[in-house]
Amino acid sequence: MRKEKEKNIYVWPGLAIMEFLTAIALTIILLVWALLINAPLLEIANPGISENPSRAPWYFIGLQELLVYFDPWIAGVMIPFIIIVCLMIIPYIDNNPAGRGEYTFSLRKFALINFNIGFLMWLILIFTGYFLRGPNWQFYWPWESWEAAKQVEENLWSLDPVYGLAGLAAYFGAGLAIPRLISPRFYRKCGFKRYVIVMTSMLLMYAVPIKIFLRLVFNIKYILVTPWFNI
């Protein structure tokens, strides 16, 4: 397939012209955008009067939204840190040689499905935080008025540390063991170290929506309570 398409073109003028045209088009778009819509500017900063709700910039709202479900050290520090590290190690843990430099779904199902779920989760969190949160970060549908006060807090409860620890151990233990039993081929292809790294990052990623689910449906505040930190 590659051979028949392998035709080289000169960058000048073909590609260079396209780049200049794109630059001009973008300049026009930005100019029109800037003429039509003004950048926001509220009152002068006043530490005495807080904005309600005060929102982080939109690209960080995903993390702010996670504050509902996690303590700040997880939502604001550990999750972004783990996301960045996991993104960086992707090329080194993905040893599937297929689909290098071309669009394919069938040859890279595992990688594409999981990456896109992660990407989508990030977008959903941003959307929820930006459009569906009102005063005191309470949930409001777009058609609901912010005037109507929401009930502040449901009765949240935490798991007993013993059950919590057992639950976490079961989640990660089963998460590491079951795929190996179901698909020994996948395990063989990865090798032990790569398998553990891949599955751990996957389990960490899916732990986020699971915790959100537990919180929303069963009102669980913490899965694990310790004197030093809570998860």
Binding site: K5, E6, K7, N8, I9, Y10, V11, W12, G14, L15, A16, E19, T22, L26, T27, L30, L31, A34, I37, N38, A39, P40, L41, L42, E43, I44, A45, P47, S50, E51, R55, A56, P57, Y59, F60, L63, P72, W73, A75, G76, V77, I84, L87, M88, I90, P91, Y92, D94, P97, G99, R100, G101, E102, Y103, T104, R108, F115, F119, W228, F229
Partner: protein, 253 residues
């Protein structure tokens, strides 16, 4: 030959002209290659690329657009620096000054703001495209790592710029953002296993105080106009260099 044409010919054959423009403009293969090779700005390109690699439906053009938006940010940012003082007494007044007094000041600030938002979006789309086309696979692994670094730098650039207007939106958004840093394990004073207090933890280091005040404004300003752009320029250079060195523009190798 008319007088005008003769003059034009003399100019083009002069030593001065030839010292600046090294080759003619006739449409020859040699000139097409020289046009790229002998121009410092264009020579980041190869002289030829595979025809399907340059297709917009393949690349989405998102990397290039992100780079262009970065240039746009640098240009408008430098112009804004002429009018903006990172001091709590003046920062907000300078925003009003830009809005009402500086010719085209409002447009300048608008472009800077919207291009920044757009850049965060396009860099995320660029990452998605690179993942979908498997373009991080060997030999391009390390360029993906550089790309993730650039993603983080873009977030930080945008975040530090957010405080500078010194209005309520800026102040409380940065409050929300920097409050999370308090909870950093070990080095944040509210984090697990903290061995610091609020006067010597990581948040104090970033803000130059326990809250967002004049020091924080100045620090964010210096980070925003000097430290982070310099880092971004270095990593952008590396990123482009490695595209050429690691197999060229994305395509099956």
């Amino acid at each position: 030959m008319s007088k005008k044409k003769r003059l034009w010919k003399r100019i083009r054959h002069s030593r001065v002209w030839k010292s600046i423009f090294r080759h003619g403009y006739e449409d020859t293969k040699r000139n097409r290659i020289l046009q790229i090779r002998s121009n410092i700005f264009l020579h980041i390109h190869p002289a030829k690329i595979p025809s399907q690699a340059g297709k917009i439906r393949f690349t989405w053009c998102m990397g290039g657009i992100t780079f262009f938006l970065f240039i746009m940010e640098v240009v408008t940012g430098i112009l804004l620096m002429f009018y903006y003082r990172p001091v709590t007494e003046y920062a907000y007044l300078d925003m009003k000054y830009l809005e009402f007094d500086v010719p085209f000041g409002l447009i300048l600030r608008n472009i800077h703001r919207w291009a920044a938002h757009l850049m965060v979006a396009t860099i995320m789309l660029h990452m998605l495209r690179v993942f979908l086309t498997g373009s991080y696979k060997p030999p391009r692994e390390f360029n993906w790592v550089i790309g993730v670094t650039l993603l983080a730098l873009t977030f930080l650039l945008s975040f530090t710029g957010y405080l500078l207007p010194w209005d309520q939106l800026a102040y409380w958004a940065i409050t929300v953002g920097t409050n999370m840093i308090r909870a950093m394990p070990f080095i944040g004073h509210e984090g697990p296993f903290a061995f610091v207090n609020k006067y010597n933890d990581i948040r104090f280091m970033l803000l130059g105080g326990t809250g967002i005040g004049p020091n924080a404004l100045l620090r964010f300003y210096v980070l925003h106009i000097m430290v982070l752009p310099a880092a971004a320029i270095i990593f952008i250079g590396l990123h482009f260099w490695r595209i050429r060195k690691d197999g060229g523009i994305s395509r099956p190798l």
